[in-house]
Amino acid sequence: MLGKTAGGLFWMSRYLERAENTARLLETGQRMALTRTQNSVEEWGSVLKTAGVLGGYSAKYEEITKENAVDWMLRDGENPSSIKSVIKQARDNARLVRTALTHDVWSAVNSTWMQVDAAMKRRVNERDLPGTLELIRQQAALVRGAILGTMLRNDMFDFMRIGNFIERADNTGRILDVKYYVLLPTAFSVGSSLDNIQWESILRSVGAGGGYRMTHGQKTTPSDIAQFLILDQRMPRSLHFCCRKIQENLSYLKKDYGFAGPSCEASNLLSEKYLGRQISDIFDYGLHEYIEDFLRDLSDLSRQVEVDYRFYE
């Protein structure tokens, strides 16, 4: 396989995952804004920050408003991480690697772009926002289904999975990074309704409300939430789960190719360093520092994969 193709599959997958995550962040933001218990401006600021697009937003708009924040994250062409931009990039990558995709996967990606493009010709008003976000989630599910159902489990699949889980780990990490203070045990947060809303919103933004209840029941505690998002082995968006998938797929590549670059070892180290601990140790070390270190190492790993498999010249 061409290095470029591996890169195209990797990035197609990352962008699709990013679109879905951004849609979920927007949904959470919208919900928080509607509960009116929060300072809405602050909340949208934190949503923008989590998506990593606050800098670009501030360069364009002077103040944070809900309408502008939604538009920036949803469809602004100047924002390379807006849903519309990333779906376009996913589709461009899919075109680039068209020969590596099954017909089903290509049509799913192409129809996603066609529908998103059509839905985002104009500003999306509040009434239509839920439908638009639902569309993105549905299309993301369609693409994922096509990939799982029709792609051979070979190196092409591995590169897609690696991209997918690096992006997902990054997203969960960012949510924790921006909201870590909500989870810190302080004398003031004792499960007030405000805390509960914040905690709920963290779970919601990784689509894990239901999964959390199944695992931990009704009782929401910061420590359990952090444990669930970081260390739970069954939660498909936890750092643990994502890291294990990255490790697995890199090891398949190693087996397939008969050689491995430094990225394979780096993924083992990543798991060892961050996952072999108790949640209490992480709080002792400092949740914020832990997450920052993790995101840095994850991004180094991503770059190493690109080098090892010759994505670029």
Binding site: M1, K4, R98, T99, S107, R310, E313
Partner: protein, 472 residues
């Protein structure tokens, strides 16, 4: 009746032989169902991404080529004649190219003037003395044919560089098979779907002697923004070979290699869809980012096969076209089986005078033009357009040729008002290898969708049709 030969209906309105089944089927069909089917077909095309990019139009970067559901039908007997003529012509083209880049016997014999070759932009001195594997220059050729009567076919153009459109031929057939299976049960239509398999086989048969084992073939595309990108990806996919861009390739140890996830791997045969000029920044256009630095040196040393060979443009240039009857006769010793359209070379003062006097009746084309750009169709042009062209002709006569306006045949399309006749042409696709010449039965039928229009190019509002060759 009309002045044009309609391929489906005779002057009395009766169905011609090859169209009998289709006519019967159409009459029994419900128009609204057909209309729904037509929309369905377009939806499939859009979803599959069978689009082309129009240069210079930012707002609609990817467009569909309209597809018409009424097939264009050629009888087995008609096809047999065409096939023989095409094969003869393609063999002559390859012999001509070999000659032009070697001893130039045809020039020595005085059949083609020396300045037509040496002074031609499409002539590549870098190819002099190079013998491509199997002496095949044009691995893939598209011969554009038009019809003016029951037995009158003309070659309008030879496409010997990188002819496109074959993916439409294949997708049109797939679409028709899915939408109207009953039509294929009622008609014995020759298969086209093994084109990709034949293409790969044909390319592999031209591998250089340094190739080990099963030759590695790759398709070179300028990238996803090229107007024919869909086709490049489609062919690579169907042939199960890599689709590469210039930046995926580099010369390593005297071979052209592609960067794979496991390291650099040599390519034996490169089916390039990049023009000569952009192929090698070291040997041609130094600004090209689409090509591979040094590929021409590897090619000349026999380290890779480039398909089509560089420099084939000299054979499909419109000024050379006018010599094609002589060329066919010179190399095959036979009279051409396919007719050329009479052509005035404007470089010749007498011809120029004639052309200038008769502009309103002629079609004038640029010698190196393609895609229907930069041409004048006298009978439909305005006075202003004619005046502008007169000026261009006078200032650069050798840049133009002129031909009579042909009465192109028509085939009906399914329009809002039912079946209406529209002008068509035909581009059969020809594969050449040391194993022989292989012509896919049929080809791409392009149709001018506008009433009365003679321009079938997709860039100018043309559409396509599925093309059937019947087993007699």
């Amino acid at each position: 009746m009309s002045n044009y030969f309609d391929e489906m209906f005779s002057d009395t309105g009766s169905l011609r032989g090859p169209y009998e089944e289709i006519g019967r089927w159409f009459n029994a069909e419900d128009a609204s169902r057909l209309r729904a089917k037509q929309r369905e077909a377009e939806e499939v095309f859009r979803l599959t991404g069978i689009t082309f990019n129009v240069y210079g139009k930012a707002e609609a970067e990817e467009r569909l080529i309209p597809f018409d559901i009424v097939p264009r039908v050629i009888s087995g007997r008609e096809w047999q004649r065409l096939e023989r003529g095409i094969e003869q012509r393609v063999r002559a083209i390859n012999a001509f190219l070999y000659d032009i880049y070697h001893r130039q016997e045809i020039v020595r014999a005085g059949r083609v003037p020396a300045e037509m070759i040496a002074g031609n932009e499409a002539f590549l001195p870098q190819m002099l003395g190079v013998a491509p594997p199997g002496q095949v220059y044009t691995h893939i050729v598209g011969i554009d044919l038009v019809r003016t009567g029951p037995d009158e076919f003309y070659v309008l153009e030879d496409n010997a560089r990188t002819p496109s459109g074959v993916s439409y031929m294949l997708e049109n057939r797939e679409t028709m098979l899915k939408m109207f299976p009953e039509l294929f049960s009622a008609n014995n239509v020759r298969n086209v779907s093994d084109y990709p398999k034949n293409l790969r086989r044909s390319l592999a048969a031209c591998a250089p002697s340094c190739a080990e084992g099963e030759p590695t073939v790759a398709v070179l595309t300028p990238g996803i923004y090229n107007s024919a990108y869909y086709e490049h990806a489609f062919l690579a996919d169907q042939m199960a070979v890599e689709l590469v861009e210039g930046h995926d390739l580099r010369v390593v140890d005297g071979r052209v290699c592609m960067r794979t996830t496991r390291g650099y791997k040599p390519i034996d045969v490169l089916y390039r869809r990049v023009d000569d000029e952009f192929l090698d920044p070291l040997n041609f256009n130094p600004d090209s980012a689409l090509g591979v630095p040094g590929i021409m040196d590897v090619y000349r040393a026999g380290g890779i096969t480039i398909a089509n060979a560089p420099g084939t443009g000299i054979a499909d240039d419109k000024a050379i076209y006018s010599y094609m009857p002589e060329i066919v006769e010179f190399y095959t010793g036979e009279k051409p089986l396919l007719q050329n359209v009479p052509t005035w070379r404007c470089s010749d003062p007498d011809s120029l005078a004639y052309v200038l006097d008769n502009l309103s009746e002629l079609v004038v084309k640029e010698v190196h033009g393609s895609g229907g750009y930069g041409m004048l169709i006298g009978p439909t042009a305005s006075k202003k357009e004619i005046a502008a062209f007169r000026h261009k002709l006078k200032s650069r006569p050798s840049n133009y040729i002129a031909q009579p306006t042909l009465s192109l045949s028509t085939v009906p399309i399914f329009a809002r008002s039912g079946l209406v006749p529209r002008h068509v042409d035909l581009r059969p696709f020809v594969l050449v290898s040391p194993e022989g010449v292989k012509i896919t039965p049929g080809g791409l039928t392009r149709v001018a969708l506008k009433k009365g229009s003679l321009v079938v190019n997709s860039s100018q509002g043309g559409g396509t049709k599925d093309t059937w060759v019947l087993e007699d």
